[in-house]
Symmetry: C2
Subunit: 226 residues, 2 copies
Amino acid sequence: MASPTASPHGRTGRPPLTSRAQIVAAAREIIERDGWERLTVRRLAAEIGVGATTLYHHVRSKEDLLVLVLNHYLGTIERPRLPSDPRDRIIAAAVAMHDAAAAWPWAVEIVTTDGFLGLLDESALWMVEDIVAAAEDYGCTPAQAIVVFRSIWYYTAGEILVRANTARSRAGDLRPASLSRLDASRLPRLAAIGDHWATVSQGDTYPQGLRALVDGLLAQAGPAVS
Amino acid sequence: MASPTASPHGRTGRPPLTSRAQIVAAAREIIERDGWERLTVRRLAAEIGVGATTLYHHVRSKEDLLVLVLNHYLGTIERPRLPSDPRDRIIAAAVAMHDAAAAWPWAVEIVTTDGFLGLLDESALWMVEDIVAAAEDYGCTPAQAIVVFRSIWYYTAGEILVRANTARSRAGDLRPASLSRLDASRLPRLAAIGDHWATVSQGDTYPQGLRALVDGLLAQAGPAVS
DNA sequence: CGGACTTTTCGAACGTGTTCCGAAAGTAAC
DNA sequence: GTTACTTTCGGAACACGTTCGAAAAGTCCG
């Protein structure tokens, strides 16, 4: 594509045929066309028309590549207008964060890696900023605000992960497979619940749990001066 | 080991050299001796003295194998004596669950898979039973109790996952890498926190967040009749 | 022009989990 | 004893992410 006619750089060395931007663009193309499971290093290289190992000179690893793609997607999300009430603002921001992650199942593979947030662009950190800011507006100290975000993040990441791996297999969720034939003497409450578990597990309890978590966290921080 | 002299079965077909129990035992041996990262299918097969692909006649997949090993470990945990107060009991049970998972980093690979709880033996389900029972004792309906467990599980699984992938890489946690040089005009609160994030992130905030979550969940369920 | 240096490209190879298919080793019936 | 059937075993092969080392294709300097 890029005509390698003249030497566009003042730099030395063999002129590159491939650019990081090109790789990311091709990866997005594959993800949207064939699904993210089809995104492999060799396929990506073939799509660009280049050797597989060449990619590793522009990207440290596949995970690194996914972070790049994720950052692009996060950049396209518009920062939502949030409620003025601090508590509602935290919840709204968390839900936005959750929905964004849930929309891209492949994000799960990255979301839990080392300093995940450290890999994000500034354009994506508004989620963190908004939650921390709202917590402080409520009356939290900076340290408390960090705990608030951390806890919300744990809860959200866990839900995303279970959700992603549940969707992958038909019969889902974390319900015990056959609650019916449990030993009622050792596990009476589970046995009593029985197949009711499946019914409840069908629904989306993320917002409910989130509200509980946020209320509990804010109650810890300060006695709701309002 | 098992002498294949006579025919111990009334069954037909070639008599097996390998048993599922033998495979699980060898897997545990490798995990304890060389670390769980060294547990590969080929190495496990070599340890037993059998072809690699043979294992797949006794175990559906490596994940399946790990579930078997995990069940064994969970079976060795003694069911803790829990406080009588329902709220404290939920927290104690959750902490026990968390500690168990945190002790075996390799459990993370399974913990989020499809119907995870459905893969567990009865000997490991007491954690679920205890939490559900305590929630009901507090005044929750069965449906509410399920939500309580689910939420706790999400939060716990998320923490475990982030913890595991953090420990893997030295510089850790989910803190933004260089909070110092953030654009203070767009992300003022994060910039203000700066490197304080690292300090707070060092500590273990799991119990704190857990208490907040449980308090919030129980407040949702009923107005604490005590 | 010709060598030194620098950067990019890529084929070969490794170790991973997993699938396929044929060979091995028993029992059961005739 | 021979034939059929059934189960277990394991070598070959595949796609995957990744590493290594050598070749390619430039610039720069003498």
